[in-house]
Every structure is written in C-alpha cells, then in structure tokens.
Symmetry: D2
Subunit: 319 residues, 4 copies
Amino acid sequence: MSLGSRDLTIGVDLGGTKITAGVVNPDGKVLSHLRVPTPHQPEAVGDAVASAVDQVRQGWDDVHAVGIGAAGYVDERRSTVRFAPNLGWHEKPLRDLVQRRCGLPTVVENDANAAAWGEFRYGAAADHDDMVMVTVGTGLGGGIVIAGKLFRGRFGMGGEIGHYRAVPDGLPCGCGQHGCIEQYASGTAHTRRARAAAAADLRAAAGILALGDGTPDGIEGGHITQAARGGDRFALELFERTGKWVGQVLADLGSVLDPAVFVLGGGVGDTGELLRRSAEAAYRARLGGGKNRIFSEVLTATVGPDAGLIGAAALARLS
Amino acid sequence: MSLGSRDLTIGVDLGGTKITAGVVNPDGKVLSHLRVPTPHQPEAVGDAVASAVDQVRQGWDDVHAVGIGAAGYVDERRSTVRFAPNLGWHEKPLRDLVQRRCGLPTVVENDANAAAWGEFRYGAAADHDDMVMVTVGTGLGGGIVIAGKLFRGRFGMGGEIGHYRAVPDGLPCGCGQHGCIEQYASGTAHTRRARAAAAADLRAAAGILALGDGTPDGIEGGHITQAARGGDRFALELFERTGKWVGQVLADLGSVLDPAVFVLGGGVGDTGELLRRSAEAAYRARLGGGKNRIFSEVLTATVGPDAGLIGAAALARLS
Amino acid sequence: MSLGSRDLTIGVDLGGTKITAGVVNPDGKVLSHLRVPTPHQPEAVGDAVASAVDQVRQGWDDVHAVGIGAAGYVDERRSTVRFAPNLGWHEKPLRDLVQRRCGLPTVVENDANAAAWGEFRYGAAADHDDMVMVTVGTGLGGGIVIAGKLFRGRFGMGGEIGHYRAVPDGLPCGCGQHGCIEQYASGTAHTRRARAAAAADLRAAAGILALGDGTPDGIEGGHITQAARGGDRFALELFERTGKWVGQVLADLGSVLDPAVFVLGGGVGDTGELLRRSAEAAYRARLGGGKNRIFSEVLTATVGPDAGLIGAAALARLS
Amino acid sequence: MSLGSRDLTIGVDLGGTKITAGVVNPDGKVLSHLRVPTPHQPEAVGDAVASAVDQVRQGWDDVHAVGIGAAGYVDERRSTVRFAPNLGWHEKPLRDLVQRRCGLPTVVENDANAAAWGEFRYGAAADHDDMVMVTVGTGLGGGIVIAGKLFRGRFGMGGEIGHYRAVPDGLPCGCGQHGCIEQYASGTAHTRRARAAAAADLRAAAGILALGDGTPDGIEGGHITQAARGGDRFALELFERTGKWVGQVLADLGSVLDPAVFVLGGGVGDTGELLRRSAEAAYRARLGGGKNRIFSEVLTATVGPDAGLIGAAALARLS
C-alpha cells in the first residue's frame, strides 16, 4: 500500500438541492464521484450525507477522514450547523452523526469556505498565502485565507461578505436588513437588472430576449452570459454594470483586508473576462488611497464546480 | 539587575503634531515619558524620533528594542513608511534610520495598529483572542487582531476600516473616493452634524452654543461631549445619531470578521456610554442574519491616550 | 326659495373601503351626510356611487351638480378613472355613468386634489392663491393650487408628489420603482420605523408597546401619536425622524414650486405640532439657496376628514 | 409704418460673462444683435445693460418695451434681482434703472425662464400649452409653462429644478445642501464623470484624451461631445450615464408636473440624440406608475443660443 493512497479523504458538498461526494487524493484529484438529490425532509438529510460517504468510499480502503462543506452557518468547532435555511436546519450536530455512522473523523465547514480552500490549495491562488474569494452566484459568498490558514471568525461566521450595508435605505435582503451588498453584486441582481433594462428598451434587448421566452421576465442568467459571449452590446453592458458593483466589493474588502489576491467564482464570477475585466477596473478606480497602495491581483477561479468538495476533502486532511 | 528590567522596550507614537516616547515594561507600564512637537520639515522628523528615543532611554540601561507607531501606511516588512500625508513622507525608510542612530532593533507599525495592540494586550480586550478596534477620532481608524496576532494584510495596509463605501454618490473623502464610512462615522462627521443641526435650530442648540463662541461653526467636539455629559438633549441626540453610524460600522465589519469583541476608542469612541450604548444597539439591530448569529461584545477602550505608545513597545518585544 | 339654496352641490369621496356623500352649500357646510361601504365587485361601485348621490339628495330640491373625488388616476377631462387599484378599475367612465343615472352635471377628480381644494377654499390656505397640500397618510399624496386654480397637469396626473425618487437603489414601491419618497415620508414608513426601532430597543419602546399587543409588529400609527401626545420620548423621536423626511419633501417641492403655503394633512400630517414643527425646521434647513429665498408658510390642515367631499362639491360648482 | 414694425421689442440676456441684446419682432426673429462683456464691477452692470439697450435700438424707432433675462433670483414683481452670485448682486432694482435710463417699459425675468419662454413660443414646444424645459448646462436649470403661462411661483423662484435632493448624504452643492440633483444631472457632473472614468481606464479613454492635453483633468465637455459624435464608445457611454440621470429628472418632475412635453436644452442637453435618446428611455423606465400614465414627449431645444434673448423680448411684449 503506497503512502499516497493512505492519504485519501472524502469531500462532501451539501447544498439545498444536491449532495455531491468524492474520494480525493492529496493533489486535489477526485478519484470517484457521487451525486444524489438532497432529501426534502430536514431529518433525512444527515443520513443521506452518511450514506453518500459510505457509498463513494466503496473500494477505497484507505480513506481516513471526511470533510463536509454545508450551505449554512457552521459553529466555530466545525461540528454543528447552526442555521441552514435551505436544509431546514437549526443546531444540527452533523459531525457527530456522520462520525458515528461512518466511523471516520469528520469536520464540517461552511460551503463557501470549503470552496475558497479548494481554490487556495489547488487553483488560482495556489501561489499565495492570503486570499479573499468572492463568489458571485445566486447570492454573494466569500472565503478568506490569512497567512495560509482559513479564517473563520470567533463564532465561525467570518467571511460572510454579502451582508455589509452598501446602500442606506436600500433594497430589502433575506437576512432581515436593507441595502446589503448582496442585493447589488450577485447573480440575482445581475438578472434583475437585465429584466428591468429589457422592459425599458425591448429593442436593445432583442438579442437576449430571443434566447428565452421573449419576455423580460423570462431572462435567465445563462442567457446574459451566452449573449455577452456572442458580443451582444446589451449583455456586455450588463456585465459592465455588475462588474462595477463587484469591483466595489473588492475595493471595500481590499481596504480592510488587503489580500494578496482576489479570486472571483460563482456562476457570474466565473465567466472569465466578461466580469473580471470591469470588476478589476472598478476595484482599482475605487480603492481608497489607491495611488499609495499596492493593488491586489484579481483572478478568476480555476478549480471548477467541485471546488467545494475538493476543498472540504483537503480541510479533512488538516485536522 | 532583575530579569524584568532586562525586558524594557521603548514605544513611540509618531503623529502629525507631536511625538511621544516612553520606556515601557512587560506589564505595559510606562516608566518614563517624553513629548516633543513634530518638526514641520519632513526631512527632520526621522532625526526627531531618534533623538526622542535617545533622550527617553537615559538612565535605563536595559532597553533592548524600539517600536514606533506612525500615522501613515507602513509596508508589510514593518520598515518603511509608504505614505504619511501628515508627516509629508513618501517611502521613508524609518526603521533603518532609527536602528542606525540608536543602535537598537526597531519595528515600525501603523499607529492605529499599535493602539489596537495596546488595547489587546493590556486593555479592554485582554481576555480575548480576536478583536476589532474601532477608533472614532478625527477620522475612523482600526486595528484587527486574529488568533492573538496583529493582522496586517499582505501589503501592510490591512485594517483600514474607514474607507469602504457606505453611501453611493456620497460625501467626498480625502482618500480620493466618495461616500467612505469615515465621512459619517468619525469625530469630524459628529462635529459637522452638530454645526448643521445647530444652524437649523438655534433654540434647541442653545446649551451647546453657550460652550463655544455662540455660533454654529464654533462648535467643537469637546462641546458636544461636555453638553451630553450634562444631560443636554440636543447633544445626546447627536451621540445617538453618530452612534447609529458607528453601530453600522460594527455590523458591517462584524458580518465579515465575526470578532470576539469590538473595542471603541478615539476622542468620540472613548466617551463611555454616550456612544457605546447607541452603537451597540444599532450593531445588534443591523447585523445581517443577527437572529442566528452570536453577537460580539462591544466595549470601550481602557488603556487611555498612551495606548499607541504602549502597543508599539509591546510589538517591539515580540519581534 | 333662496338664492343660497339654489347653489347646493353634492360632494362624494370615493375610497377603497367606503363612499361618503354630502349635500354642501357654498360656504362649505355639509347639510346632509351619508356613508356606505364600497362594494367589493368593481362593476358594482359605479352604481353604488350613483345610489349614494340619489339617497343623500332626498329632500334637497335645489342640488344642481355632483363632484366626485376618486382614489385613482383621473383623466384630464375629469371624466374617466384611468386606473384605480383600490377600486379594481381601468378606464372607468364614471362621469357618464353618474350623470345618466342621476341627471345632474358631474365632474370626477382625484381624491387628493379634491381634498386640497377643500383645504384651499375653506381651510388653512383660504387666504392664499398658491398652495401645495402634502397628505401624509398611508401613502404620500398631494394637491397643487396655482394662481387660484387647481393644477392637474396635461394628462390629469399632476400633483403626484409621492413618487419622485428620494433614494437611489432604495426601497421598492408599489408603483414599480425603487426609492420613491413615499417609502420614507408616509404613515407606512412612520409605522415601519417604529416597529424596527422598537425591535432594536424594547426597553426604550416600552411605553409605545404597552398601547398595543406588546410586540414591535403590533405597533400601529395611532399608538405612536397617542404616546407622543403623552410626552413619550421614543414616540417623539419617531415624529422627529418622520418630520425630517416630510421637511425634505417640502424643501424638494418648494425649490421647484415655490408656493405661498404648504398645508400638511393626512393621518400623520394632521397631528398638529408633533409633525409640523420638525417638518418646518427641516424644510428651512434643507431648502437649497434658502438664505436668499423667502420661505413658504407651513400649516396644518383644518377642514378635517370631510375635506375631500367638501372640495369635490366646490369643484362641481365651478364647472 | 407697418403694424409689424410697431411691435418690436428688445430682449437682453444678462449672464456672468456677457450681455447680449437684440431687437426682436413678433415672429421671434432677431433684427439686430449686440454682444458685450459683462463688467466686473457689480455697480457697473446695470449701466452696461442700459447702454446695450440704447445701442442696439439705434435705427429702430418703433421699439416699445424691453425684456431682460438675468442669471439670478428675480422677485415675483419681475422688477428686482434678489440674488445673483455671478453678477455680485443682492436686491438690485434693475427694472427701475433700465426704465429710467432708456425710457421704455421693462420687465426682468430669470434667464432660464426667459429661455424656456423662447422655446415655448418659437421652438420645440410651440404646439403645446404645458412644458417643462430642462437646461443641462454648467448647472441644471429649468422653466415651467402651465396652461400657456410662464410659471413663476409665489415669490418668483418657481422652476428651480436643480436643487431637490436626489441623493441622501450626497455630493455638496453650491446652494449649501448635499445631494442636489444638479450635482448628478449637469454638464459639470458629465465632465467630472468623464475625468474619473478616464483616470480609471486610460486605455478606454484614449480617444477622448487625444482631444485635450492628454490628461484626465484636461477633459472638457466639448471633447466628450466631439468624441461621441465620432462614435467613440467611451464617450457614448458617458452620454448614456448622464442621460440616465437626466431621465431621472424627467421622471421626478413628470410625476409631479405631468407636462405635455419636456424640452432638453443647454450645452449637454442640446446635443440631439446623444443625450435625448437615453434620457427618454430612462424617463419611461423610471416614471412611477408609468404603465398607467401617458408619457410626456421628450424633445430637444431648437431655438438655439439666443433663446433667452428672444424669450425675454417676447415676455416684454406680454406685459
């Protein structure tokens, strides 16, 4: 038995609609992969995770730990999911459940943190010690690495970058506040902007409308990306506008966190130059005292959709 | 000669108007203290710092290091002051200059970071491992401690909490941007608000106007504090309003940094319950997802005006 | 039969929940009065109005015209209700219906305009030629009188003062936009603010909470007024804050319309000095170029809840 | 002597840098024209106006009145200039001075009102009874016509459309307030935006920079127009952005004033489709309740730079 094989771990990405699990080696390579739907009953989800772990480890004798990235607030001991609206959970002791069921040491981590760690270890930020990952997906998530370590905050909630206030008296947010940056720099905001702009100028939006059902409200995020890749001016301008908000996020976080590198991920962040170019320009234009500071690099995520799973597996190896 | 005395260091607080230096023991006690004005000529300031060090160490044989907290951007090697508008400096190699002149190992640190370290080691946050210090003085400064270590960011600029954007299209800021939080949550904003409110309602402001020259523009920060301490309703409302902005700062930073404790300092922050009470209430009301999070403690600084000097001395001891 | 009695008209106030009708003499005195609920079926509302007119005119032979103030957009010919969400109407030819059914010349007017006219002819603005009425009720409505004539705009929609944009990227409004001033300067905003402030500081809100069911969400507008009248500090501060927004409305409209007088009405506007004092102070503080302008008077409405009915009756007399 | 010639009047446009005067016939045709610089001494300006009137009327026996459009606040009797910062005047009785010196009945009017009247009588709005003119020049000025009459407000200050608050806590304005719409929808804002955008992305701005001295701060309004006319994408986007703010102005004013037509004028407003197209699109997208309202027409001014002079001459004919 080789040393390498002795160091396999399992990573799990636990989301509101699906559970993905994989056996991962120290190089971040996924050796086997499983995807199952997330059960609708909150009380069934823990068992489904344990079953997925058992199933995917079949044939791999040398797995020695499990890491789970869960869509929710995870406590600072990386053990309990404090609150996960998409899973219907409050104070769920997930670590103990999986450990008992699978007989493997287990850690639980916030899913955005896990994805950030995957990107830090194996992706765009692999050459750096300090990173802020900015995930522009349905919402706006984040993960922070400081001096080579994942930053969790005192109570495990660190890195929630989507909920500082960007607009006084602004749009209501699901978190209970108004004007959170997530309402402006996210895929949801991107699509909302597209629909409003199309309703105001149907002619300019003709290209993008043709990709959906022809109505402004039928525009989906994928249509905007597809049209922009084809050079559609209306879609390109939407990326410019969303990019400006994302660049504002980089400037805001940069002034406080001063990282070596920002990595953009998520469905909208991961569109290469479409978003990155305008986000970086806005970041540079809006960083306070920018002329006397060193700018952080602004990169795009490279690990792909399994970053969370791979990162969770790597975190399991550390503990 | 006792072991204790062998561990003396010198701390320096280098500001735009004055230089303070002190011999400090490991308990944070200032054994001797010196204050001199900062020279107007930028090229004379380095020598003045070295002279202050030499002067204050007279009679203390066992000083073994120097720590300097400087009002400016300091590089990540804690050696060069990159930019200090109040000192007229660009790329000033302060560490080498002082080391050469005084023959003592020296570290240079941002002054707000030094003050935060002083508060962390000897003051309000002494029982915690993670702290964010929020200094509400002329501007809005900060210092961040994570896992017992001072956080500096990749390029030394971490903890600049005053320059994220709080108001789109907002007030112009000295950093070149618009709408920075410093324009709303600082002593300058506090006084500006007082003057405008007084101009709009001279009768309600009568108490506070009587403390100055009788005109709205003659109102100074000290008048507001003095009147508020006496129960003046107009002044108390100003603290309420500024406290709300400061509480917004805590909510914004808290959502990202999730610290164990916030410590309020600076001329406005350090007014005890006048500011702290409303700041904490606003923080709790505005923290996104607050109902499912653990709130950080909100405390007031306790070390006093020498926190920067004492913190710099303690940092010198570490290196 | 006296000349006076020959000049009677009927005024109708047609709202989403009730219809009030009255026979009114040229001095604005209501000689008889009727109130019935508004039918739930949109197609029954027109008949209900006509019936109310027929009913209330019983015994008054000398009624010669009908004026109807309707809660909705009314066209510039004062004939058709273009859109009335609370009545379920689109393009409803109300004038023809009532004229045919009752055999009396009829005019239809927007209800806020009718109330403004009532206040202009018989109330607070009776000594002036130019008035802006600002109705702070559930929403924020208005009515404008210029050179002694009711201002309607080219298409009948003039005087919709609640829907200019006061906050970029602000709160969503029922009109389809974001950040309309109505979201900040209205009874709804007043109550929303009270609930949020109470949730953030239950102790300070104890007095106001005791008037309702004890929970922040149980606070109603009437509780705030009642508590404020009793000197409750928490409630008085809410009036201060809402008054500032209303004063902003006066400053915004004043800079464009420069009226002789503003009249505050509606459930929140009509609370006497509670709102008027802070609204006037904010208006004076915020009017652009105020030092070189003449300030308009700021008064409170005096005609009472029948202002719309009385105004509609007076408008019928004019046509 | 023909009837036509008997009806000549003189119009004067009195600005901070120049005085223009002309003899104008009832068709709005300028028969003779004079331009002289405005004296620097405030006390010399009145005489300079009278001299210009005397000079330009040489050879025209049948002039019977004078109209003056002055850059300042004019009182409601159209007699005294209350405040004119560019002329250095406070409470200047200009009408009496010119009447006495020239022996002709004289009226004084605000210059933006005079220009609006010129456009209303002879230009883009000649077919309408209700108009709002929006002058996007150095600042943001306006003029309102209601039912065929120039609207002045109770104290002569009506139509000051540039100073309602568009952004809470926004940019400081010369009028003493913060966040006035003039700071966002004016030529000054247009140029400021161009400079900031160019500084942030020199490459994209190359075309526009080449028209000036090559630096962002050297960009002038004329460069933006010139580049945009040549199809430069960077310049076109600036017009899009400024057009959105101007469209917001139309939506804000439209919701209150509901005019038949908006006329865009001034150095930026008068650039044809460059501004008009995006302003109209934004107006339609942002008018509250737009789906149930009739949109006003949005036109560009057609009378040209003498609109103020011609309008003043026409106003003189009325009185």
